[in-house]
């Protein structure tokens, strides 16, 4: 069973991610998972959304280069060595991982996004100031 993913080409300039997410929001599209791969010169945003066809159409209309790819979503046992088990099977099968990214559900139904900013301390203060709940490493690591 395969899942459709859309990929968007990103030039290295500020505001592009925000633009994509607002286009999706305006069109009532929910992002279920995402990852950004970047090089020194450009980036690629990969998204799993609830309406792939619509997302592709609206982003294209917004001037983005979009492509659609099939990926496989594998349920990983939530315990020590869970991911290792999956990857061992992949390796033994002779497959290479092109890329992978995480999609986490918490008990309360929310997802967790991990960010790194250029000015981390300032960003923490700003996010707290805006009323966002930050998840501590203890909470993430807690089983």
């Amino acid at each position: 069973m395969q899942v459709e993913q859309i990929a968007v080409f990103l030039e290295n300039k500020s505001g592009r991610l925000a633009e994509i997410t607002s286009i999706l929001a305006e069109n009532d599209i929910n992002i279920r998972a995402l990852s950004v791969a970047d090089t020194a010169d450009f980036g690629i945003l990969r998204l799993i959304v609830n309406d792939v066809t619509k997302a592709q159409a609206v982003l294209k209309k917004g001037g983005f280069t979009v492509s659609k790819t099939d990926v496989i979503a594998v349920a990983v046992p939530d315990r020590v060595g869970g991911l290792a088990e999956v990857l061992r099977a992949v390796t033994e099968g002779g497959y290479n991982v092109e890329y992978m990214y995480a999609y986490a559900h918490r008990a309360d139904g929310s997802a967790v996004m991990i960010f790194r900013f250029d000015a981390m301390a300032d960003a923490v203060a700003m996010l707290k100031d805006k009323g966002f709940a930050l998840v501590s490493s203890r909470e993430i690591c807690a089983t």
Partner: protein, 433 residues
């Protein structure tokens, strides 16, 4: 042997009579031997016998880089290939280079005009001349080389690259004269600082810098950083290579043209009519003495002015002002001529690349950097980084192969390169002249 050549102090009438005689011989020879020239002249109804004075020059058709391309590679040569002993090439406007050929007499002529140019900067026997122009198809390296030998000075044929080794050689060998592009001269100055070599330790006296445009500010910088006197030299491969015109040590007002061999005109680039002395326009040359590939009224696309004001050095040769621009879109990147059309030609040969691109030229430190902006279309976008990186690398390699110059490739989003109503703005040049 060479100080001031007798050709360089002739009264005007004497020079003009030599020029006319040579022009008549030239026109008769190309009409007789080269079909494309004959056809062009027949089309406007002019015969060699019509050239009775220098003023009749304007009746002859122009020659352009396109004529060289249309007759690629040897179609405009006036001698059989058996008599051609050397070939050089420069950038053409598309995929094909412009090929130039030299007979034995042409190589002697080239050596002698280059030697006369060097003599204008007081280079003489006993000088150790560090020749950092590139050796190869480019005319700079070998053209200068033969001139230095003809002059009786000692040539150090270092060619370009490996700046660290160059500055060590300059110090250890005791180089007294430096030949390089002006930007490479500044690069060498930096390499000296890095290597802990004080320019005062060196014996450099004169720097001869051409093959790319440089400002007065850049001249001062070269002089200050290298502790030498920097002068300008002009040439282009179609005419002969370096050795067409040269600044003497007295001249602050332009370069002496070796007009006994290269007859200059300034024309209005729009009407193509010759302009009066002193007015700015496109520089046009007729080679009076070249054998293998003589060119009649060759449009250089360089913008300049001519003057006959006397020079303190005593030479009566006509002088041309430093080139102030181009009438076409040719760029000079680290001494290499680049036409946007060549880049386009390469890009169009790569599958999936859209015909929308832009060249951004800037200067990082002393080096020119050319970035090619290419839009990422859906045809080439699969969502995988390695595919885009492969595309970017293959563009860089093709450009390096075809144009001989390295570039950066910047992949950009579709429609981010400005579309203009008429002619697209292909080039953004951020170098401050």
């Amino acid at each position: 042997m060479i100080g001031i050549d007798e050709m360089e102090t002739l009264p005007r009438a004497g020079m003009e009579s030599i020029q006319l005689q040579r022009l008549q011989t030239l026109v008769a020879r190309v009409y007789d031997r080269v079909q494309p020239y004959r056809e062009k002249m027949d089309r406007v109804g002019i015969k060699p016998a019509h050239i009775r004075s220098l003023a009749d020059l304007r009746r002859l058709p122009f020659t352009t880089k396109d004529d060289l391309r249309d007759n690629y590679p040897y179609g405009l040569f006036t001698v059989p290939m058996d008599d051609v002993i050397r070939l050089h090439a420069s950038s053409g406007t598309t995929g094909k280079p412009t090929v130039v050929g030299y007979t034995e007499a042409d190589i002697q002529l080239w050596s002698s005009v280059m030697a006369r140019c060097l003599a204008m900067a007081d280079v003489h026997r006993g000088d150790l001349v560090h020749n950092a122009y590139g050796y190869g198809l480019f005319t700079g390296g070998l053209g200068a080389h033969y001139g230095i030998e003809a002059l009786g000075a000692t040539v150090i044929p270092v060619s370009g690259g490996n700046s660290k080794r160059q500055v060590t050689i300059m110090r250890d060998f005791g180089s007294t004269v430096l030949l390089s592009t002006p930007s490479y001269a500044l690069n060498l100055a930096d390499a000296m600082v890095d290597a802990g070599i004080d320019p005062a330790e060196l014996k450099l006296r004169v720097g001869i810098h051409g093959a790319e445009p440089w400002s007065v500010h850049m001249r001062q910088e070269v002089e200050r950083k290298l502790g030498l006197r920097a002068v300008d030299i002009y040439g282009l491969s179609e005419i002969i290579g370096p050795g067409v015109a040269m600044e003497c040590l007295h001249s602050e007002h332009g370069m002496h043209i070796l007009e006994d061999n290269f007859l200059p005109e300034i024309v209005d680039p729009n009407t193509m009519e010759p302009l009066p002395l002193g007015e700015e326009g496109e520089l046009v040359f007729t080679t009076l003495t070249k054998e293998a590939l003589p060119l009649i009224r060759y449009r250089t696309k360089d913008i300049s002015r001519l003057t006959l004001e006397p020079c303190a050095c005593g030479r009566t040769l006509i002088r041309m002002a430093k080139v102030s621009g181009r009438t076409d879109d040719m760029l000079i990147i680290r001494g290499v001529n680049v036409f946007p059309s060549q880049v386009e030609h390469v890009l169009m040969g790569i599958d999936g690349v859209e015909p929308h691109y832009q060249l951004e030229v800037s200067r990082e430190g002393n080096m020119d950097v050319m970035a090619i902006l290419v839009e990422v279309s859906e045809r080439i976008f699969s969502g995988e980084i390695k595919v885009l990186e492969r595309l970017s690398r293959s563009i860089q390699m093709e450009i390096k192969d075809m144009l001989g110059v390295s570039c950066k490739v910047r992949l950009v989003e579709p429609r981010s390169i400005q579309r203009s109503e008429g002619k697209a703005q292909r080039v953004i040049d951020r170098r401050t002249q």
